[in-house]
């Protein structure tokens, strides 16, 4: 199963879980499974049109999926998908 690494700011939506595992053929399959299981994550990842939000990047290994085939990027059983959010420091 592919693994998703959840960044600290989003772990409050995954019961502090740092990793999520799901089967699927594409990055999108796995992200869908993730946001179905952890509903609170969805608004932080995807906009109203289901597109990835501009302040979050998704990587397959060390490559940005925007420079692969975006959500349709095929994955393998041992793929590591990282969600990387913009962080600024302590002040809001």
């Amino acid at each position: 199963m592919a693994q998703v690494i959840i960044p600290t700011p989003l772990r409050k939506f995954t019961n502090s879980q740092a990793r999520f595992e799901a089967a699927g053929n594409t990055v999108q399959d796995v992200l869908k499974a993730l946001s179905t299981q952890h509903q609170g994550l969805k608004t932080h990842l995807l906009d109203e049109n289901g597109e990835l939000r501009s302040f979050v990047r998704v990587y397959l290994g060390d490559e940005d999926i925007n420079f692969l085939q975006k959500g349709a990027t095929p994955i393998e059983a041992n793929s590591i998908i990282s969600i990387i959010p913009a962080i600024a420091g302590g002040i809001v």
């Binding site: 990387i84 302590g90 809001v92």
Partner: protein, 389 residues
């Protein structure tokens, strides 16, 4: 470069650089000739400034508007207890001059803003961004792009750190990716963690700020290969590190295929999400200053004080309110009085405004008042015994 001479003291001081084959006296000359601006002298800025000064960067500028506070000392190792209440730039300059008398320290005791950023940054070769908020991060990035300066970046949150080198001059004469290639726009305020979630493990800025200093020295000396085009990620809790690629994006509003921005903008507005309807709602929230609340409390008028912070914050300081954390405020609406004034407070006033907005929207309550500045303002102006956190 050749006109730079080192005194005997300097040669001795920098000898561990001078005997490093890749670095040697040529690298040291480059550091001495360099001008680096450090924006923010807090958690990241502390190790950055200490190492850059120790290493012999010839001119170091420091921008910070803040004063040293007790709560800074958990991570801002540049300062000591004697510095509490002193402007950070002043305390920093004093410390760094003791550390290395052979360098020049310039200070800017001000917020970096769209009005002063270009003027301040233009005199420097490299900017190291050690700020703690999105508006200043976008401002620093955009100003560096507009002025062709390298932006050495690091950022932290709780146990997580990021670092990169933006807008570096590459061998082919072009510039490497910048922050806008990675994150074209900031998260809207509603999705930015609130101050209750903003804690940080004290050593983390020390680690990231040190990495940042290392990248600054590499950029200046040309030794090694920098993080340009790469983003370094560190999870201090699990001790996992990753380095991922950063590409230039065709959609970058400054450097992409169809640039839509040619100067600095209003970054507070840019990061506020420009949500007009919500601003209108906010004006409907009644507020009460801590002085007004003190008068109400002293008058003996019946009222209720609600504290919407988290239990762990209540443990640090409380002012007699009933604890109903924001996350469960709607569920606890029965515990909120309907027949008298209800004053709602949090740490600084944002979460209590959110709570009032939700309660007014869902239950039509109209007896709610937001305590301006929250418990921090109460501690500042009324109860000096309370811990400010």
């Amino acid at each position: 470069m050749d006109k730079l001479n080192f005194s005997k003291q300097e040669l001795e001081r920098y000898s561990r650089h001078l005997i490093l084959p890749e670095f040697n006296i040529e690298g040291q000359k480059k550091l001495k000739a360099a001008k680096v601006l450090v924006v923010g002298s807090g958690g990241l800025g502390s190790p950055l400034l200490l190492y850059l000064a120790a290493a012999g960067v010839g001119t170091i500028g420091i921008v910070d508007f803040d004063h040293v506070d007790e709560s800074n000392l958990q991570r801002q190792v540049l300062f000591g207890v004697d510095d509490i209440g002193v402007p950070k730039v002043e305390a920093a300059k004093r410390r760094l001059e003791k550390l290395n008398p052979h360098i020049d320290i310039k200070t800017y005791n001000t917020w970096l803003t769209s009005d002063n950023a270009l003027e301040i940054i233009k005199d420097y070769d490299v900017v190291a961004d050690g700020t703690d908020n999105f508006p200043t991060r976008y401002l620093v990035n955009d100003a560096c792009v507009l002025l062709d300066k390298v932006n050495v970046y690091a950022s932290i949150y709780r146990f997580e750190g990021q670092a990169s080198v933006f807008n570096e001059l590459l061998e082919d004469g072009s510039r490497g990716p910048n922050y806008r290639d990675l994150f074209p726009t900031p998260p809207p305020p509603g999705l930015v963690p609130s101050c209750a979630e903003g804690g940080v493990i004290g050593v983390l800025p020390g680690i990231l700020g040190s990495l940042q200093a290392n990248e600054v020295i590499k950029v200046l000396s040309g030794v090694g290969s920098t993080l340009s085009g790469r983003l370094f990620l560190f999870d201090a809790a699990s001790f996992e590190t990753r380095t991922v690629k950063v590409h230039k994006s065709p959609d970058n509003p400054l450097t992409g295929e169809h640039p839509s921005q040619s100067g600095l903008i209003d970054y507070q507005q840019f990061c506020s999400g420009e949500r007009q309807p919500e601003e209108e709602l906010e004006t409907k929230i009644k507020t009460m200053s801590v002085e007004e609340y003190l008068a109400l409390r002293t008058s003996g008028e019946a009222h209720q004080l609600i504290d919407v912070r988290e239990p762990f914050e209540y443990e640090i300081a409380e002012m007699g309110g009933e604890l109903l954390p924001l996350g469960s405020i709607e569920k606890n609406v029965d515990r909120i009085a309907k027949d008298r004034k209800v004053i709602v407070h949090c740490k600084a006033g944002k979460r209590s405004a959110d709570a009032i907005e939700r309660l007014q929207g869902a239950f039509g309550l109209n007896n709610l008042y937001n305590l301006e500045g929250g418990i921090l303002a109460w501690a500042e102006k009324v109860d000096a015994d309370l811990a400010k956190y």
